[in-house]
Amino acid sequence: MARIVLGIFLVLLSLMPAMAEKQPYLLHVLILCFLYAIPAVGLNLMLGYAGLVSLGHMAFAGVGAYTAAVLMVDGHWDFWLALLAGVLAAGVAGAAIGAICLRFRTHFFMIVTLAFGLMLYSVMNNWDEVTRGAAGFPGIPRPAPLGGFSFGPLPNFYYLALAAALAAFAVQWIVVRSDFGRVLAALRQDERLAQAKGVNTMLYKAAVFALGSAIAGLGGVLHVSFLRVAAPATFNLAESINAVLIVIVGGAGSLAGPALGALVFVGLPEYLRAAAEWRLVVFGVILVLIVLFAPQGLAGFVKRARA
């Protein structure tokens, strides 16, 4: 049943550019959904599966985005190589900073991730020579054509974003089902027990921090390539908080959670009939209600409705 629904959903998504030919706005919103869902997948691995609540997640997306931007614009690198470098840079930054943050627990872990996120943001915002500072990094190219397929037009970029999002979800699916994922689940349940069984918990948590950050980097590179500009505000504290909210609303620790969360976070405000200013208020209230009454998030509702 779930597979059939998933299949129909994927077919619909892949036919969307043809169906929505006259509605570029719809494609635009869907692309943004994908671009928000990708870092959320990374955070879901950390938060949902390993219990690591990072409040600086989007800063790692920024590391990836700015790395790729500098390489493409100043270094004249090819987009795809720069994308790869951006993902790697985010992953390496995640491993290094994660190793430091993981020395702390509970509130202190959150505070350190918050502080590192702010520091990275501050670098993006202030290192004018490299990042072009607060005004943003202009002139970021769309992806280079691949086998004659250009990513300039909106529907074509749509396919790229969709493919990247699917890739991120595939990685999540593989990781969760792997031995690695099972160890993470055991860690989240009872870290002491896992340690007593000889698991190097630090290594596993640093690895998931690095992986989550690398996935965030993928989202970051595509995001700035889509907007054609990298702005520090795309990777600030508010966006990191939004990433947490997307994961929670979607359902932390569920495979489809980041997709549901991003759809609600990006899509719902765009289409809510209420006055524009009230959309985010409503979203915030929904979030608090979900935390209070439905800690499994939307994915939990879906699961319960099916059961």
Binding site: I100, R105, I111, V112, F116, V288
Partner: protein
């Protein structure tokens, strides 16, 4: 050079005063309920808007508006404690996430009600400039520092000498023991929460006339108040005061030596350094089972 440092020290005391007011509220709530309320900065911002509303629209009296704003925010804090934080008691992760949701709610609620643009809050009485040596500071500048010091003094006396203040300290040291001796811990919770949000409102009402009132005005004070708390030792009330002032002065004085762009980074760097090198802070507080 020296006069620049002195001037920035006074500026830092002013900025630090706001961090102290935020830090005090956060650390009191953290001590009693073990809740780290990331929405505390947003409550400061709401306090500034409420003060602006009373001052510009209704009363025209700045002192009265400050008091009314603190009262309104205390009620708001009590409501939040009841509706959001008490039901999540013991679930640290969900409390933090709920506080993140509250940031979204209040920031956008304010935008919906007052619009995204900054408001001016001109208080004629405190706009006058006072010469201090070669420098001139506004009365408001000095008022912020004086009121903060007075509040700190009153708060400390309350915590030290009053029965209920002692009960607040007792509850934050050992909640189970507090229940055993008959301290009504839930009442301690909501009163502390209301007190904490009132202090945040006071911070917002005090800096409103110095700068402008805008929806993101509480973000930096929250982060820097938090840095002050870490510096003082997570959970220590006197530590929060000293830490808040140090952060304020350090970042102001840094502008003499570093580009002003890096002013905000001082607090972040202090936060990370403190946690890495000196996690117990100045007052060496060990916090229940946390590293």
């Amino acid at each position: 050079m020296l006069s620049a440092v002195l001037e920035q020290t006074l500026n830092g005391l002013m900025a630090g005063s706001v961090y102290v007011l935020v830090a005090l509220g956060m650390v009191l709530i953290y001590g009693v309920m073990h809740v780290l309320n990331f929405a505390h900065g947003v409550l400061l911002m709401v306090g500034a808007y409420v003060c602006h509303f009373f001052f510009v629209r209704l009363t025209g009296s700045y002192p009265l508006s400050i008091l009314l704003s603190a009262a309104v925010l205390a009620l708001l804090g009590i409501a939040l404690e009841r509706a959001v934080f008490r039901p999540l008691q013991g679930n640290l992760r969900n409390q933090v996430i709920a506080s993140l949701g509250l940031i979204l709610v209040f920031e956008n609620l304010v935008i919906a009600l007052w619009g995204p643009n900054a408001l001016q809050m001109k208080v004629a009485a405190t706009a006058a400039l006072v010469p201090l040596g070669e420098m001139r500071f506004s009365v408001q500048h000095l008022l912020v520092i004086a009121v903060t010091l007075a509040v700190v003094l009153v708060l400390f006396s309350f915590l030290k000498f009053s029965k209920f203040g002692t009960a607040i300290r007792a509850t934050s040291q050992d909640r189970m023991a507090a229940m055993v001796v008959g301290i009504p811990v839930e009442r301690v919770d909501w009163i502390t929460f209301g007190l904490g949000t009132a202090l945040a409102a006071l911070g917002g009402a005090l800096i409103g006339p110095l700068f402008i009132v805008f929806p993101q005005m509480g973000d930096a004070p929250m982060v820097k108040g938090l840095a002050g708390i870490l510096l003082g030792g997570m959970g220590s009330v006197p530590g929060a005061v000293i830490g808040g002032f140090i952060i304020g002065i350090a970042e102001s004085v840094s502008t003499v030596f570093l580009p002003t762009d890096y002013r905000d980074s001082v607090a972040f760097i202090v936060m990370v350094l403190i946690l890495l090198v000196w996690p117990r802070g100045i007052f060496g507080v060990s916090v229940r089972g946390e590293d």
